[in-house]
Amino acid sequence: MAVEFTFEFPLPLGLHARPASFIQEKCQNFAGEIIWENLRNGRKADAKSVLSLVTSDTQHRDTCRLIVAGNGEKEFAAELRQFLLQELPLREEAALKEVPAAGAIVPRIVLDEKEVYLTGQPASSGVARGKVFVLKSGPDWESLLAGERKEKEKRSRALSAEAEKAAFFKAISELQAEIKQALTEKSGVEKNILQAHLSIASDRAFISRVEELIQKEKCAATVAVAKAAEEFGQLLGGARSQYLRERMADVGDVALRLLEKLGWEKVSELKAELKEPAVVVAEDLFPSDFLSFKPEHILGLVLEKAGQTSHTLIMARGRGIPAVTGVAEASRLIRPGEEVIVDGNRGVVVVSPGEAIRRYYEAEMEAERLLAEGRRKKAQLPGMTADGRKVEIAANIGHPEELKKAWQDGAEAVGVFRTELLIYGKQALPTEEEQYRLYRRVAEEAESRPIILRTFDIGGDKPIPSVSLPHEPNPFLGYRGVRIYQEHYELFRSQVRAILRAAVHGPLKIMFPMVALVEEVRWLREQVRKFCEELKAEGVPFNSEVEVGIMLEIPSVALLADKFAAEVDFFSVGSNDLIQYFFAADRGNPRVKYLNQPLNPALLRLLKQAIDLAHQKGKWVGLCGEIAGEARLTPVFVGLGFDELSMSSGFIPEVKAVLSGLRTDECEQLVAEAMEAATAEESARLLEQFYQARFSEEVTAPELIDLEADCRNKAEVIQRVAVMLQLSGRVSNRALFEQALWKREDDVATEIGFGLAIPHCQSPEVRTPSIALLRLKQPVDWQSKEGGLVDLVVALSFPSGEKVRQKLQLLPKLSRKLIHEEFRDTLRQAKSREEVVALIKSATST
């Protein structure tokens, strides 16, 4: 006879697919029958089927009765009871600790609230919230079924239940065999997925439901499979667990494979239309898809596979649309119409966020708005030093789509448009006409700002299918840039002609890459003259006044800059290549990475000499390498005499802000001293001293004080501190900074009694030592062992490294003061932010 026992279901998240699969696994060991009966709702389930168990809708603390019948029932019932109450909760807990994708930072509150989230890589900054629109989602059962109904009417044949069942069983045993075979060949993630597929293809509840549909509802086998899949999908979907969503997708996959076996022609996926603002979720999104949507309809992007440099993501950044990419299986796991939050700063997507998460992200969105406002203000600054010396601040671009963002970021010109990016991966080269149209568009969109087009820089390291180049052992020192133009003359000719023609519509300039010799420039100029004559003869409009410059990336050009200056209109230093050629160190080789020394005095002398020589001949010199965007180095570039700095446009506002506070003579003094140093380390120290002497920032300021912080929990307090520090420019990436604060809290919570907490960290994200203070409107639980409430928060943030040692001395003073009740009282009673600033300053002064 059967043995039964009742118990209270122990898992907080209820009986979803993961614990159900653990239970099924356990019950498989028993030869007899096991019935799971949920006494709250009266539902009965087969404990040997995951799907059946899930349909019992068992919630936390539901009382359930288990009936075990078969050989050894008494022993197994005891064993099962022990398993359910002890082992199951432990396994569930272990499974909940999922590892986020590399690059993603999951906010603490998302973990604390046990929200459903997916992770990927941050791809376009900002935060968006909205309903989901899935492009090319999984099978749409409803339309599949509608199609089948039509099909059935057409055939109008009586179905034989027996024949349909036989077809179904044949299909499912074939599928099982195929999966089992594949299982022996695969490993890792793929194996896990196959395992899941097999468990569904063998699931008793699924199989018997299909049978039932064929028998009782006279469905065709195909319809029965689709219907059963839809039913179980519904049950599993909308679930608050990623695991469960994966199983839902698995059910879809298994059903589709069955349908194919049953002779169903794959229904082509419908091209969906985006009719209202939504978060677009897709495997990948072609630029054409992206452009086919109304810009205001795309609130955010969640992509599975798009590369960081894909044009879709470049456009998303240009339009300020938050995006996360590399989100595995996003389009299968997120259902259309669900609400999600896309956190493009952290690479996280929260699905159906709860109240606490919404509040947290409201604050994030407000911070983003304020940051954008601050950036806009900086972006509008003129590219000029405090004493009025003009330094043009320009953008580097690789595609015309980036222009819009460049102007928004405050670019005054385009310092280099890397045209070879247009032809990577293309089978055929663009014709002169195609290039003309593209460059013309760029010229028109420039609205009279200068644009420097660098001609194709192609070489062995970046092969182009349509240009056959020899494979070389050392492509960086080989056949590339202008060196290939004689052989690949048409490539060169069509591009230069296209630029000359497009320059009628705007101020375009030509720049040639990889020039080493004066003869090369003479040849190039001669060709440009020839192209002008050709165009004239053809009667095609062109601009004969187009300025021609060269990249300064080979040391020979630097030393002979006066001679080159006679042949060109301008120079632009490509620092990446110049540094690797100058120090003879491959920039991609980590073993010699230490030789990448932008501040090495030898390099400074080389640059100073080159710029002086060019200036003597009345020619200007720009900088378009990666280091141009490092705002910290701006004083050095001003001191060297650069006339233009060109960078990824995201860096422009910050560089402009630094530039506007510099004086030319002081920067020149700095460079003169650095050129006398012996090592890069010495000149870095001089730069450090330069900053300390001029910009010794106070450790606190009114904008770091909040006397009425409306924070409901510890996570919001930490967030508020991070936001205040980023808004004041003291922290570069608040997501990483938040993480650093939490790391310290995880060691031991920093609540020290007396209602006071002192979150603190030393982190490379912190630019300058900073003290922030929050008085909380309502006390919050600081999650410390003692469970103390906190109403006063003093946050201490320090940069990493030796250079802050001096400033660290103020901390012992402040810390000691905070122990004294009188001092805490004055902080609690202070009437204004300025008063608090004064109190902290006096407590930390020496």
Binding site: I758, H760, C761, Q762, E786, S815
Partner: protein
């Protein structure tokens, strides 16, 4: 009664000094003499000398990380607490020390 103490915490920029201050403050109130060495981000400060240790009736360690130069305290009566305890309950700590050494 004379005491010596060492405070140290993982980051060494806040708790170390708070614990030191609290021990000094409460000891004074209770009429003990105490010298507290801090081992923080600034390195070792107010370092305990051989004489300080020799004269002390007990050593209090309020630490969250291993103490540097622990060999100095060999043969002494040592009381170890967490840094948090020293901040929140210095009075309790000192009372306990007093009872145990019968001072």
């Amino acid at each position: 009664m004379k005491l010596v103490a060492v405070t140290a915490c993982p980051t060494g920029i806040a708790h170390t000094y708070m614990a030191a201050e609290q021990l000094e403050r409460v000891a004074k109130k209770m009429g003990f003499s105490i010298k507290v060495e801090t081992q923080g981000a600034m390195g070792i400060e107010n370092e305990l000398q051989e004489d300080d240790i020799k004269e002390a009736s007990a050593v209090i360690l309020a630490v969250g990380i291993p103490v540097q130069k622990a060999e100095r305290f060999e043969g002494k009566k040592i009381f170890e607490f967490s840094v948090q305890e020293a901040i929140k309950n210095a009075e309790g700590i000192l009372k306990k020390v007093k009872e145990e050494i019968g001072g």
